[in-house]
């Protein structure tokens, strides 16, 4: 289309201009100097402003609850699917249904959690859409159950993780999960995930 061709020329000018401005500002600013909107202050920034205080190891432990795919952050404790099922019935089934499977015609409060592990199957569940088992542990521990967020013990979270992975046929029912083996579970959906490749510009992605 004519409009597009005409526009493209203009962009070249605009983009070139921006690159020049970008280079100029990055030279002036550097990474850790006054940022957006800075003009002229009466003095240079000190090495430190002296605001805030050092966080103690206790301060950090209190909040640092995340679990990474390499297992960093997994706590002591253990659990298996049988224990997990008992907890599930009491604390999870009200929102996610008795089995965690989608029940046609019934709209539950929480999403379905169990399905087969085929990539194209619906609904999206732990079996077909979750790339890391550590995410399951991290998420349940930080915010489940919905009405009593953060109330599960580490053993309960290990047990529930084992139950849900077993129900999705990713681990055997007798597997006892702990900090050593949970992060090593290969999730079926992991191979599907790709990092965003959109970069702006004329191409629609």
């Amino acid at each position: 289309m004519n409009v597009k061709l005409h526009l493209n020329k203009k962009y070249v000018v605009v983009i070139t201009g921006l690159i020049i401005i970008g280079v100029m500002t990055s030279e002036k600013r550097g990474y850790f100097s006054p940022g957006y909107g800075a003009t002229t202050d009466t003095g240079k920034w000190p090495k430190s402003f002296g605001f805030g205080s050092t966080a103690s190891p206790q301060d950090i432990v209190k909040l640092d609850i995340d679990v990474r795919p390499d297992g960093k952050g997994l706590p002591a404790g253990a659990g298996d699917a049988a224990q997990g099922k008992a907890i599930y019935v009491v604390k999870c089934a009200a929102c996610h249904g008795a089995t965690g499977l989608e029940t046609p015609g019934i709209k539950l409060m929480g999403p379905a959690l169990v399905s087969d592990t085929a990539a194209a199957s619906k609904p999206k569940t732990i079996g077909n859409y979750w790339p890391y088992a550590t995410t399951l542990f991290d998420y349940m521990r930080r915010t489940m159950p919905y009405t009593q967020p953060g109330s599960l013990t580490d053993n309960e979270v290990y047990s529930l993780t084992a139950f849900l992975l077993s129900a999705n046929k990713i681990i055997r029912p007798e597997t006892v999960l702990n900090a050593q083996n949970l992060w090593q579970i290969e999730m079926p959906a992991k191979k599907l995930f790709i990092v965003d490749d959109r970069k702006g510009g004329p191409e629609v992605k």
Binding site: G37, D59, L63, D66, T135, T143, P202
Partner: protein, 414 residues
């Protein structure tokens, strides 16, 4: 529909008038027709004052309030509420009409209890009180926020609020994250950071450190006052141009790392199918636009119409908005309201003389990278039939009927 329309043409709304409004007004009330924003025509019960110059007005008060003739409201569901885009004349969203999206409700955080912890791959882990944050050199920046799942379609009776109400814009004030990172001393091997909220979802997202250094900031001010609870009081992360979910509210912790954490919100949510694969870490919001006037359920008259709307991009500035008044056959550039800001809603206007024939009107945003807002079919071609619900930014169209009624044009793509 969660609630009834309050701006349907011709619909009579009995508006409750408070005792205070009546102070100084006549005691008798009558039904008066009033013209509100654009083509809205509503009837409101107001005190009968034939001549306001002959009656003492109400005295000054502690808090201002809207005219009793204006009642813009959000539309709320269990998990979000949508901004009434059709009621705005410009691009700053009144704070009480800013869209909401949260995962476990709005927490009530006392400012004197608030702390932000920064730790991980740093020389010195630190905690900052709200007061500490406010002492650092500050900045003010206007930018949009938009939920990554901001697009609804499916029927003709949809307002801009129904279609795209999960975007809003504020003037934010806070401290650059880079200013705080300078204090803690970031390990040069670090590449990512985790941002964590202090609400009941304790929501987490992994963010490339480059964004944290480039233009991320921690906001405690919104439109000149303290940030609203729904927007993250007392402090939140602001990542200009990036999907709403990454702008973690009620920010309590930042952990510097050399890898992402693959949290629930960046794996099982906020990802979408692209030709058999699942795209993740899809941060920037691509360019898009919507005509907010005329729109459903307004009605237009033959003659001059100023078409109005907003356009925005997470990749910089909007450079052009094209308007079509013949269902996409020809396009002409709209006027952009200056100043056009980086990663911000940009108001556009286009004067059109409607001859009374049935037609469709469309807008198409172009950003400074040369990206042109795509059609649904372009998105299908790029991503496949199973599009999912995130990062959908198609050109949308309003049908103008012969009687002047305006209807959304839903496009089937599933």
């Amino acid at each position: 529909m969660e609630q009834s329309e309050n701006n349907s043409a011709g619909k009579i709304i009995e508006k409750k008038i408070s005792r205070r409004t009546l102070l100084g007004g006549a005691m008798a009330a009558a039904i008066l027709p009033v013209t509100s924003s654009f083509a809205k025509y509503i009837q409101v019960g107001v005190p009968a004052i034939d001549d306001p110059t002959k009656k003492l007005g109400i005295p000054p008060g502690k808090l201002g309030k809207r005219s009793p003739f204006e009642s813009p409201v959000r539309k709320a569901s269990d998990i979000s509420s949508r901004s009434p885009l059709q009621d705005f004349y410009s691009t700053i969203t009144p704070s009480d009409l800013h869209f909401e999206r949260h995962h476990a409700g709005i927490p009530n955080i006392a400012p004197d209890k608030y702390e932000l912890l920064i730790h991980g791959m740093v020389e010195r882990p630190m905690k900052f009180s709200l007061n500490d944050l406010k002492r650092f050199p500050s900045l003010t920046r206007t930018c949009f926020l938009e939920c990554a799942g901001n697009f609804r379609t499916g029927k003709e009776a949809m307002t801009p609020q129904d279609i795209l109400g999960l975007t809003s814009q504020s003037e934010w004030t806070g401290v650059m994250l880079s200013t705080l990172l300078r204090e803690v001393g970031v390990n040069p091997k670090a590449t990512w950071f985790l941002a964590e909220g202090g609400d009941a979802s304790v929501m987490t997202r992994s963010i490339p450190l480059k964004k944290g250094i480039d233009d991320a900031f921690i906001a405690y001010g919104q439109n000149g006052e303290a940030i609203r609870p729904e927007q993250g009081y007392p402090a939140r992360l602001l990542l200009p141009g990036w999907e709403g979910n990454t702008n973690v509210k009620w920010l309590r912790r930042i952990e510097i790392s050399d890898q992402p954490y693959f949290t629930r919100e960046e794996t099982s949510k906020y990802t979408y199918p692209v030709k058999g694969k699942i795209r993740m870490f899809s941060f920037e919001m691509d360019a898009r636009s919507i005509i907010t006037f005329p729109s459903y359920p307004q009605k237009v008259e033959r003659g001059w119409i100023e078409i109005r709307g907003i356009a925005w991009t997470g990749r910089g500035k909007i450079v052009q908005v094209d308007i079509s008044t013949d269902a996409g056959k020809t396009w002409n550039a709209a006027r952009l309201q200056e100043p056009v800001l980086d990663k911000a809603h940009t108001y556009f206007r286009y004067l059109w003389q409607w001859n009374g024939d049935e037609t469709e009107i469309l807008s198409r945003a172009v950003d400074e990278t040369g990206y042109v807002q795509p059609t649904i079919s372009q998105l299908v071609a790029a991503r496949g039939n199973d599009l999912g619900g995130y990062h959908m930014n198609p050109v949308t169209s309003w049908q103008i009927k012969r009687d002047g009624s305006v209807l959304f044009k839903p496009e089937n793509y599933k």
